[in-house]
């Protein structure tokens, strides 16, 4: 019995340490954003809102916010359309193309982002697209689509396909039966997929580093370029905003489905 309780205590201590490890860096970011001095220290010697005030005067950060929003929304739209249609098609008919699709969609996720950045930079330069929003959206779509695709495959698998057959039997065309029968059942899944695609794009920075130029830089790229020079609390302020956006997205997604299901989709 004593050995059992020792094991339990060790196990508990183990996962509590990991729990702290997972959240500590995020806490550091949030806390240091309230620092008063120009140096990042944890915990800060003095607290203030100075850096939040000066954030709203900085045009390069505000422009980066707009860029991130634009690229994120673009990625969400393109990745959702590609992922939903492909998952739907595969559900109707899991033929040769369907079986090749899953590995083809997954493979980009295993290639180091730096190699992607290089490859796509070379590629988009051929079409004079380097630095454009289009190039950023397409690159991010490559990473976001697998998520939407696998979320939607899992959603479609739970859908009762006899309902669609029934709609067809009652004379509804393909578009009408999709809108009235399938869509209401999977709209939560589509929403979560789009949200994840948006977040992936918002947070991605290695490909954006290669593909953006001075006017299309996204937030993580600007943050990175500042970090290269010095560690200013301004980066913490921006990072706090990014963490808050992710937090909001998780709460929204968890409300639309549930956290347990969502977590399983992310792997």
């Amino acid at each position: 019995m004593r050995r059992e309780s020792l094991e339990t205590a060790l196990f508990r201590a183990g996962y509590l340490v990991v729990f702290a490890f997972m959240l500590l860096p995020l806490a550091v970011v949030v806390v240091t954003s309230f620092g008063a001095s120009g140096q990042i220290a944890f915990p800060p010697a003095e607290f203030s809102l100075t850096w939040y005030e000066s954030f709203f005067d900085q045009t390069d950060w505000l422009r980066a916010f707009d860029n991130s929003l634009l690229v994120g929304l673009g990625t969400a739209v393109v990745a959702t359309i590609l992922g939903v249609t492909a998952a739907f098609g595969q559900e109707i008919d899991d033929g040769l193309v369907g079986r090749l699709l899953a590995p083809l969609v997954l493979l980009p996720m295993l290639i180091p982002p730096v190699i992607f950045g290089v490859t796509l930079l070379v590629y988009f330069t051929e079409f004079d697209l380097q630095g454009s929003y289009v190039s950023l959206i397409l690159a991010h779509t490559l990473w976001a689509t697998p998520l939407v695709y696998f979320v939607m495959r899992s959603v479609f698998r739970r859908f009762d396909w006899q309902q669609l057959d029934a709609a067809h039997d009652l004379g509804a065309g393909p578009v009408r039966s999709f809108v009235h029968v399938v869509l209401p059942n999977v709209k939560h899944g589509i929403f979560v997929g789009a949200l994840l695609a948006f977040i992936v794009s918002l947070q991605e920075f290695v490909m954006a580093l290669f593909l953006s130029n001075h006017t299309t830089e996204t937030i993580p790229v600007v943050a990175w370029n500042q970090l290269r020079n010095s560690l200013s609390p301004m980066v913490s302020v921006v990072s706090t905003f990014l963490i808050l956006i992710s937090l909001g997205a998780i709460l929204l997604a968890a409300a639309a489905t549930n956290l347990n299901w969502l977590s399983k989709q992310l792997s």
């Binding site: 997972m22 220290a41 915990p43 249609t85 369907g98 180091p112 982002p113 190699i115 490859t119 977590s263």
Partner: protein, 307 residues
């Protein structure tokens, strides 16, 4: 002339399309999958063919990235024989293997904890994984600098307790880069293992314990083999991302990884053939190591072994 090539192109498409339709039950399904397939071909496959082509070109004259239309294996010879690229590759693989081992071991423990927890604790533990997963790499890595640097929180804490007289050099250094990299891949490792554990029957473990297995033994002999598909996915993801890591070694490490070198060669030195050849060699080496890891791990998986 162009009309002629158009005709051959559409002829080729038709030759490709017909057997596809013949092998599938529904043309509509193919049409629905077509956008994604075309997207992957245009934005993933085609760029990689160009990357391969550049890697076998001659180095460019002054000011150009590479010499178009030339063929040469110099870049590969350079990558495979000279000292610096080899050191860079070894360093990247060191980070990759150590970070993967830690991430998978810790990930297994944490996934097991999530699986066994319920109610609010379970949600909290899941949340602690999902939030870092959806936070940008930049944010995740730089936070370790004020924590682990020689003048940082950890060192001043240990010094004030009297455990240390000289500060630990964690950041910048190999240890710092690995801590940062583990933090980046751990959420993925946890969730990959958890999603497999979640489908597993707890009664199997209880049965093993009723039959007299100690708790560590029941985990090693019942849980681990069952979770092996998840462990394999966790290993592949952690390894692939850690070998190609860029942000963590840059901000927290003290040595050049292959990703940092490729970045420099492309954006600053304009040596595209060498950079692309290095990328191709790295992908090939990664594939070899990943297949070896999968082969070794799947020997332990699937069936429960009774020793």
């Amino acid at each position: 002339m162009s009309g002629n090539s158009n005709a051959t192109a559409s002829g080729a498409i038709e030759r490709l399309w017909k057997p596809l339709v013949a092998r599938s039950r529904s043309k509509r399904a193919l049409l629905l999958m077509a956008p994604l397939v075309i997207f992957e071909l245009l934005i993933f496959v085609a760029p990689f063919l160009i990357l391969l082509r550049i890697s076998v070109s001659e180095a460019g004259e002054r000011g150009t990235a590479y010499a178009e239309g030339t063929w040469s294996a110099d870049a590969y010879a350079n990558v495979l024989t000279s000292e610096v690229p080899r050191e860079v590759i070894v360093h990247s693989f060191t980070i990759g293997l150590i970070a993967t081992a830690i991430a998978v071991a810790v990930g297994l423990l944490y996934a097991y904890a999530i699986w066994r927890a319920d109610g609010f604790t379970k949600s909290l533990l899941l949340f602690s994984v999902v939030l870092p997963l959806l936070t940008t790499l930049v944010v995740k890595t730089y936070a370790f600098r004020p924590l682990l640097s020689p003048t940082g929180t950890l060192n001043s804490l240990l010094e004030s307790v009297g455990l240390l007289s000289t500060p630990l050099e964690i950041v910048p250094g190999l240890a710092g880069a690995i801590v940062g990299q583990v933090y980046i891949v751990l959420p993925y490792a946890v969730l990959a293992i958890y999603s497999v554990l979640a489908t597993m029957d707890w009664q199997l473990v209880e049965a093993a314990r009723d039959l007299g297995a100690s708790r560590p033994r029941s985990v090693l002999e019942v849980v681990v083999p069952q979770a092996m598909p998840g462990i394999i996915v966790a290993t592949v993801i952690s390894f692939a991302w850690s070998v190609g890591s860029y942000a963590a070694p840059f901000l927290l490490g003290d040595d050049v990884t292959f990703a940092m070198r490729v970045e420099g060669q492309i954006l600053r030195d304009f040596q595209w053939p060498t950079a692309t050849a290095l990328s191709v060699v790295m992908i090939a080496a990664m594939l070899v190591v990943i297949s070896a890891l999968v082969a070794v791990l799947s020997r332990f998986g699937g069936e429960v072994e009774y020793a």
